[in-house]
Structures are given as C-alpha cells and as structure tokens.
Amino acid sequence: MNSSKYDSPCVLISSVSVPRGGATPLNFAAMAKRSRGWLKISEIQFSIDPGIILNRTSVNGLSPGDQYGGLINVDCGVGRHRMTNGQIPVWLLGPRLSVFGEYGQQTYLNSPNTGLGGTNRMPVINNYTWRLPKPMLVPPGTSLGMLITRPSELLLDGATPLPNAMTVEVSAKGVQLAKPPKNRETDIPYVTYFRGPYLNPTALLLECGQGFATGNSLANPFNKPLMVERFTQRTAFGFNATSPQSAGDFQWYYGNIGSLTGGPSNIRLRIFQNHYEVMSETQPSPQNFGGAPTVLDNPQGKAIIDSVFNPQWATWRVGQELASKEWFNAELSANLPFYSAANWNVVPQVAMVGSRKEHV
C-alpha cells in the first residue's frame, strides 16, 4: 500500500532490443508495480533508437531515418485483458506528434544537415505518445505486458539500410492511488488495425477495393460496447529494388507518405459500419464510361484521406459507440499515379482506437 495518503506519480519503464524479424517481451517485473498500490495509467510513451546514424538519401524530403513507428509493432495487454488486436504498429496508437516526424519538427525545418552527427546525418530517436482514451486502473501486481516486434514483412530485404537491432523503450505513466478504488470497473483501451496491400503508385488506376477491411480487422470482438475514440491513419512508403513494378516488401523504408507533397491526395478511403451506415464518403466523380478511366475518376465516392483524417495529427476523432460484435469496413484505393519511379510501393494503414469497460 502506498505509504502516503496522497496519490503519487508513477512511471513503469522497460526497454528491449529488437532485431529485424525479432520479437522481445518487455520485462514483466518492470512493467508491474510490486507494491500493493493500484495504478491509474493515462499515457504510454515509446522511444525507438535505431542504433545507427543513417546517411541521408534525399528523396522528396524523406529518408530511411524517418519514422520507425511503422516498423516497430506492439502487442499489449493488462492482466487477462487485451489492449491490442495482435501486433499494432506503434505509430497508429496515437495522433502524430509532429507533422514533420515524431520528434522536434525543427530539425526538419532546418535542413537535411541536422542532428548532432552532422552533414547528411539524421536525428536518431523517434518518440511516440499514446494517451489512453481514458485512464486505466491496474491492480497491484498486474503487469502491463507488451511484446515488441519488428516484423520483417515490411522490410524484408537483407540489403536494408536499417540492419541494426533497434532499442525500444516503453514508459507507462500515471499515478499510484493512495487508496484502492471503490469500483474495480475501468476502461481498458483496445486498438485494432487494417493494413492495405502494397500499392504501386505508378501502376494504379481506379483500383477500387484494393484494400478492403472486413471481419475482425476493425471490429469490436467483445460482448460489450466499445467506445471508439478515434481512427488513426498512416501510409508506409518504401522502395523495392528487387522487383520493379511489383508490389512487395520494401528494401528501403521511407516512413509515412504524409510528408510527401501530393501523396495523400491520391489515396482515397471510405469507411462504413457493417450495417452500411457510411461514415466517410464524397460525391462520385464523373468517369469516362466509354473508354479508359481517367486519372481524376472516383466512381466509388471515396474521400481523400487527408480530408478524413486531420493531416497534421493523422487522426480522426469520432467518439462513437460500436456495439458488440459489430465492425467497420474500410475501402482504400489509390487512383492516380503520383510518383514516377516504378518500384515505389505504399501500404496504407487504418487503426481504430477505443476502450471498453472491464472489471480488473
């Protein structure tokens, strides 16, 4: 029990080293309060250190040093309650901290030559913050268990410029309660996401339904309502040198395409509930029925992703309750070539972040 009659701040911290293709759990004891005090966790922070300073290859303002949150996934739970639906890319958990990257944006405004390390080097650490939809009670001795993974599927090629093991540090921040809560019911967050297929921007034209999320990817699997706080969206962007014009794993990874001028306006999205209540759409655009489709066609009425998600925060606050066992469908398409290189691929991702009531 807390020795004081006052609540006090508390941080649980653990760090792991994750090689490419590896999976490492956080230290179980470090992520639990060993005293008899209850915790109320309100925020989880992630820092990702790639363990290397990368030479910058300037490609439309992006570099492989950008936004490792697409490469590091987390599978999270508290006690017997799931907080994620399997592996979730870290950058989908919360709003983007900075439009230029997940750290002080001024390093980008400066020039490519920033960060202590000098010319053509990049700042080396990315930070991500997940403010939980509502504070979460954690009983004494219960660990905030996390498995940190670095899937090789997004970055398969051995020639990747990110070969090193990455150090991921996780801190769960909140308060330790002076007295046990009167009610053991609490809000447990839940995140689930849908990842589209690899889309090749030069090859695509009117590829409606390229990505189609159904079933359990954006669903409420619980037998109770899920309060959906927000959707978050990112688009991984990379380069496949080994098989031009084909959609496949990245050799080079360039972070989120949101930083690329013109990129997001060419990816379109429609989200609707399983009973076809449409949540985001736009008027269908005319199309040339008699001939080949044209670049401005949008016959399905999907909305440009930057008009659905706040382009600065990469998020859309909805505050909607999703009934038990219901789900959202997400349709993605990219209908305009926006980059001339044949071997670029993009992978759009949409996550649903919410919480439900559980007894702990």
Partner: protein, 347 residues
C-alpha cells in the same frame, strides 16, 4: 466555477476589460537585474486576474550567439508570496506547446550554405528570438496596489548581451470582492551539472548518480501543493569556431545523443517510487511537450529527488568527419527538471 462565484459577486460582465502589463530589461552576460516593479503593479484600483505570463528574449549580438529559455531565467513573486523558487529557466515553466515557435526566426526557413554552422543550429547572420508562454492553471488574483515582482538572470552560458521582457496578461475585474484565499502558482527547479554528450565516459568527474537536493523540487509551504506537471528540459550548449569568431548556441532542439545521454530515477520524501527503474529522460518527462502532466498533491514540506545518470555515448555518435573537431570548442548538456503547481494563500 463561474468567475462571479469565485470572487463572491454576480454582476461581472460589461465592465471586464483585458489588461497586459509588460516589463523589460537589458542584461549583460552573467548579470541579474530587477526591473522596475512599478511596471507590473496593479494600479487600476480594482482587482486584476492574471492568466498568462509571456517571456520574450533576444540576443543583442546574434553574430556571437542566441538566447534561449534554458539560461535566461526569471524569479517571480506576488508581493511577498513567491511564485518561483528563486531563478527558474523560463522554458521550464510550462509545456513546450510549439518548439519551433520558441525560437522564431527566418533562419529556419532557409537552406544554409554552411553545413558546419547548420549542424549546430548556429546561423550567425540572422536574429533568433526566444518566446515562452506560461498559461497559468488557475488565474492569479492580484489585489489593487499589489504587484508582480520580477527578477531576470542571464546565467552567462554565452557571452552575448540580451534583452529580456515579460508580459503579465489577464483582465480587470471591477467590483470584485476580495477573496479570503487565492491560488498562487509555484515552480521549483533542479538543474544538473553540465555533461559532455559526445564522449564515452559516463562520470566525467562528477559523482554518479547525481541527485537533486532536498530543497529542490519541493513544497516548502505549510499547506498542500497541488502539482500540475513536471517539466523536463535538456539545456544544450554548443561552442564552435568559424573563422576567427566563436559562436555559442543554446537550445533544447536536437535529438540523438542528448536524448540518449540521461537516464533518471525519481522518488519523493514520502517513500513513493515515482520512477523506480532508470528510464530515458524524454520517456519520463515527455518528448514533444517536454512535460509530464500528472495532477497530484504534495503534502507540506515534501520534496522529490531525481537521480540522474549520464550514460556513455552511444556507438556511432561522433562529430561528422567533415567537420574539424579542432573547431568545436565544447558540446555540453544539462538536465533541468521542474515541478509546477499551486497552493492556496491567505490575502
């Protein structure tokens, strides 16, 4: 609570009017000054409610160096009631709501020709100003005739003279009853030694871990302190020679070695382990905002202690080979942690 209820009246409205008072001083390097206290005296004859303190600072010689909230410090009080525990770095008062705005400059929008200067964030030909805002968690009631006492401190981390100003902005509350108790903000700060982030040595002659004093990060009052947040800053100092001129830049902008070099534990005087296992400085005190908002109560006389360990520099973090190390005079960084809250005081 409605503002009328707070001050025991119900006719607020038409007569409310904004009021911002400002004070300014010029400081040589290493100088302290107490600007004219009449500048921030409430001479309206009616109560004044302060909502925000704004700090503005400018180097008087940008060719030699810039100014920033890490070494331009202020001490504040409402009459005899202290608001800060002595001098406090102006960037350690409130969350960094926009790191890029803290240092306004056309410099950020330009592509520099000298990567060497750019590397350290030094651009000698353009002016950079520092701006920091402390939006109070609760309005500060200033009775008629009372004043905000201000002292500025240039800690001398670089040699440039600077202009520093502060504005207290809020509104006048005509006809307001005088409350028995008011909420007065409180900030207490701890600053570590200066460490070298580029060397592999961890102790650098200092005892490790370095621990904050019992008289810092504390509640010195005989009433409860309502803590709103912790602020964590890394004060980064870089001295660099180009030609025959030595430049000094101070900022809290860059990631990398600075983020990696400090690990902290924290506990308080009542036995609570706030950060039981050493964690990265930014992962405890926040990355984007440089702050950790965690509302809690500190009993009278309580204090926090921060244990800071400087770890060896990570592999690969070196000065770029294209830059002569002979031109780098020194690279240093210190941790700054503050506790921000408020207590009730009787008028």
């Amino acid at each position: 609570m409605h503002v009328g209820n707070r001050y025991g009246i119900h006719n607020l409205g038409a007569d409310l009017r904004p009021l911002a008072l400002r004070v300014k001083a010029n400081l040589q390097s290493g100088e302290q000054t107490a600007p004219n206290s009449l500048s921030l005296q409430n001479q309206t004859g009616e109560p004044w409610e302060i909502h925000e303190f704004k700090f503005y600072m400018r180097s008087q010689n940008p060719l030699e160096g810039h100014v920033a909230g890490g070494f331009m410090q202020a001490a504040l009080a409402l009459d005899s009631m202290p608001i800060t525990d002595g001098f406090v770095p102006t960037w350690a008062m409130a969350p960094a709501h926009a790191l890029d705005i803290e240092r306004l400059s056309p410099y950020w929008a330009t592509q520099l020709t000298s990567s060497a200067l750019n590397m350290f964030g030094v651009q000698p030909s353009l002016r950079e100003d520092g701006m920091y805002y402390w939006n109070l968690d609760h309005p500060l009631y200033v009775p008629p005739g009372s004043s905000i006492k201000v002292q500025f401190n240039h800690t001398g981390l670089n040699n440039v003279a600077a202009t520093m100003g502060m504005t207290a902005s809020g509104r006048v509350l005509p006809g307001t009853a005088r409350p028995e108790k008011i909420r007065v903000p409180w900030i207490s700060t701890w600053q570590s030694q200066m460490y070298e982030p580029l060397t592999s040595g961890s102790t650098q002659g200092y005892a490790q871990p370095e621990i904050s004093q019992e008289t810092q990060l504390n509640n010195p009052f005989d009433v409860e302190l309502k803590v709103e947040r912790f602020i964590g800053r890394i004060n980064q100092v870089i001295q660099y020679i180009s030609g025959t001129t030595q430049y000094t830049n101070v900022s809290d902008l860059f990631t990398g070695p600075y983020d990696q070099m400090f690990r902290v534990k924290q506990y308080d005087s009542t036995g609570n382990l706030i950060v039981p296992l050493a964690g990265g400085f930014r992962n405890v005190y926040g990355s984007r905002n440089r702050s950790w908002t965690v509302r809690h109560t500190m009993p009278p006389g309580a204090y926090n202690r921060v244990e800071l360990t400087k770890i060896a520099a990570a592999a690969g973090i070196v000065i770029n080979p294209g830059i002569s190390t002979a031109r780098v005079v020194q690279v240093r960084a210190q941790a700054q942690v503050s506790i921000v809250g408020w207590r009730e005081e009787s008028l």
